[in-house]
């Protein structure tokens, strides 16, 4: 600590080394310990608005039975997505962020009581539609899944690399539309691999059901993995 004398005051040098996400990360760590203790797999779904997160869940939640699934769905306003998902017969809690463009660990923690954690194998978090802000906020999840639809352009991974780097799996959604678009599938896959070499990619359509089996199998395998760690 260097100190220099001034007129009636001193200048001091302080080593701080604290990071901006520490408050969020503390809550996330607490959540992660709680999920681990119960053997619950937690997935954090992230995409631009309208990439098809809710539609995909509508098509797949029922088929995950007998796994016990719950959803936390984040939106800037309205309960619409929660209402859509409740029709699938699973417990759903809506997190209205009132302007905030991402979910934070504290928001997840304060809504957890709305889904019964004792009776749960999988908790799926549908994040607020945004490819930038949610990527840095740890929610205590096991894995992030990024969705990119065929209508969004092949350069999305290059424009939003941080989320493609952090996510374990990329879902290319709305695969049914690909033949109707100037969609360059190879180019998108190349861009994903450039940002995240070896990244797992599944192509799905919530409309035709294409690829949904593989997505369901992927979830089931991750649940098994998580529960095998849970003694």
């Amino acid at each position: 600590m260097c100190e220099t004398q001034g007129e009636g005051h001193q200048h001091r040098h302080l080593e701080v080394h604290r990071h901006a996400m520490e408050a969020n990360d503390q809550v996330a760590a607490r959540l992660r310990r709680g999920f681990a203790a119960r053997g619950i797999l937690v997935l954090n779904l992230i995409s631009a608005p309208g990439s098809g997160k809710t539609a995909l869940l509508e098509r797949t939640l029922e088929q995950l039975r007998p796994l016990r699934v719950s959803v936390l769905v984040g939106d800037v306003e309205t309960e619409r997505d929660a209402e859509r998902l409740r029709r699938c017969g699973v417990p759903v809690a809506q997190i209205v962020t009132a302007g905030t463009c991402h979910l934070e660990a504290g928001m997840v923690e304060s809504h957890l009581a709305e889904v019964d954690q004792r009776e749960l194998d999988v908790l799926i978090v549908e994040n607020v539609g945004n490819l930038v802000c949610p990527s840095g906020f740890d929610l205590g999840e096991d894995l992030k899944v990024v969705l990119v639809s065929t209508t969004e352009g092949e350069d999305k991974p290059l424009k939003y690399p941080a989320i493609f780097h952090r996510a374990e799996l990329a879902l290319v959604t709305k695969a049914d539309l690909a033949p109707h678009l100037d969609f360059d599938r190879e180019e998108l896959l190349r861009n994903i691999q450039a940002v995240h070499p070896g990244m797992e990619v599944l192509e799905v359509s919530a409309k035709t059901g294409l690829g949904l089996d593989l997505w369901l199998d992927w979830i089931r395998a991750k649940v098994e993995e998580k529960q095998s760690l849970h003694v």
Binding site: H11, R12, H13, V16, A20, M21, C133, A162, H196
Partner: protein
Amino acid sequence: MHEMALAEELLKISDEAAASAGAEEVLRVRVGVGWLLQVERQSLAFYLEALRRDYPRLEHAVFELDEEAVRVRCRVCGEETEQAGWGFACGACGDRDVEVVAGDRLEVRDMEVRTDDV
């Protein structure tokens, strides 16, 4: 990233550190901006300026925003190397099995403060 929320956290941390050292005024704050976070430095600077009126100790502080490069440690050969872009790989052996060890944080590193004599 969400620059406004991040600026608020940086101000809170700086103010807390100054208060616990008994400082009257903060002169300079050095912030490390990890490249991996893709924080817009201009936007961050804007929000630091706009939000600091709530923190009297920070009114005249100069915020230095230093970009911090990404560094990875290789799980195969153990070397630590700096990365120049996405698609991280070990700079020594080329293996992709690497762990990010720097450049993924937004951090208040250190600061200069003024304390009144007792």
